[in-house]
């Protein structure tokens, strides 16, 4: 499991726009680099990131090799109701890492 950092307010006012910052530890190997013997290093990137808010998809990103290692993505959403935000990252071999954070809306 890769290390993940997710930054979002623990509580927010209803209707408030909040910013969510996410970062996941990943080499984002481009597939364009060569190893010591001159052979191409196999591509291994995170190609998809999805965020859902109480089951509803609020943000999605499709990433390419030009995204820096340890992909950082920041986006905004409206705090509508208390509940769970689920973040998931999918890499080239198809493995998905999922993290959940709670938000209290008053």
């Amino acid at each position: 499991m890769a290390r993940v950092l997710i930054n979002l307010p623990a509580r927010a006012k209803r209707g408030q726009v909040i910013e969510i910052k996410t970062l996941i530890a990943h080499p984002m190997e481009t597939g364009y680099r060569l190893d010591g013997k001159g052979a191409a290093i196999r591509r291994d990137i995170i190609k998809r990131f999805v965020c859902t808010y109480n089951g509803e998809e609020i943000f999605q990103a499709e990433l390419f090799p030009a995204i820096a290692a340890n992909p950082f993505i920041a986006f905004c959403t409206v705090a509508t109701e208390s509940g769970e935000l689920v973040f998931s990252w999918t890499d080239d071999p198809g493995q998905t890492q999922t993290e959940t954070r709670h938000i209290a809306v008053e």
């Binding site: 726009v17 909040i18 910013e19 910052k21 481009t30 364009y32 680099r33 060569l34 001159g38 808010y53 509803e56 998809e57 609020i58 943000f59 999605q60 990103a61 499709e62 990433l63 390419f64 090799p65 030009a66 995204i67 820096a68 290692a69 992909p71 950082f72 993505i73 920041a74 986006f75 905004c76 959403t77 409206v78 509508t80």
Partner: protein
């Protein structure tokens, strides 16, 4: 023609160089092609989109970038997607973000790689199907993807 000694030396030298050559880079043409595949027949208009990234970058391996779009983000008028393109990386596509009225504010930040000094372009698609763009020129001192 018989392979002369000079010819053999040149051939082996060029073969050795080509082993280290990186795959074909994106160019202005491939960037335009990638943009065309996204926007189709319509022409992206200038404005509404604001692409922020440093004008001089010391390390091309991580370049902070923020795209914001002037939009009320309502059900009727919101940003559907934001796309980022580059001119001289191995691939012209950098990222695609899908948003909706739930975003509240059309703003996305990430960190990208730049292989050379070049132009970066952001294109946003609105709910009415129109495309808006902004571009920025970046000078890169240390390029990404060059270490072997």
């Amino acid at each position: 023609m018989h392979p002369t000694r000079r010819w053999i030396v040149l051939a082996t030298a060029s073969a050795a160089f080509s082993r280290f050559a990186l795959p074909a880079d994106a160019t202005q043409a491939t960037m335009e092609e990638a943009i065309r595949a996204l926007v189709g027949e319509t022409e992206p208009q200038r404005g509404k989109v604001k692409l922020e990234l440093p004008s001089i970058v010391e390390n091309g391996n991580t370049v902070p970038l923020t795209v914001s779009v002037d939009s009320p983000m309502t059900e009727a008028d919101h940003v559907v997607s934001i796309h980022i393109f580059d001119q001289k990386n191995p691939q012209p596509y950098v990222a695609a973000f899908k948003l909706g009225p739930r975003a509240g504010r059309a703003q996305v930040s990430t960190r990208i790689r730049l292989a050379d000094s070049q132009q970066v372009m952001a294109i946003a698609q609105l709910a009415d199907g129109s495309f808006w763009s902004d571009s920025a020129d970046v000078i890169v001192t240390l390029a990404a993807c060059t270490e072997l």
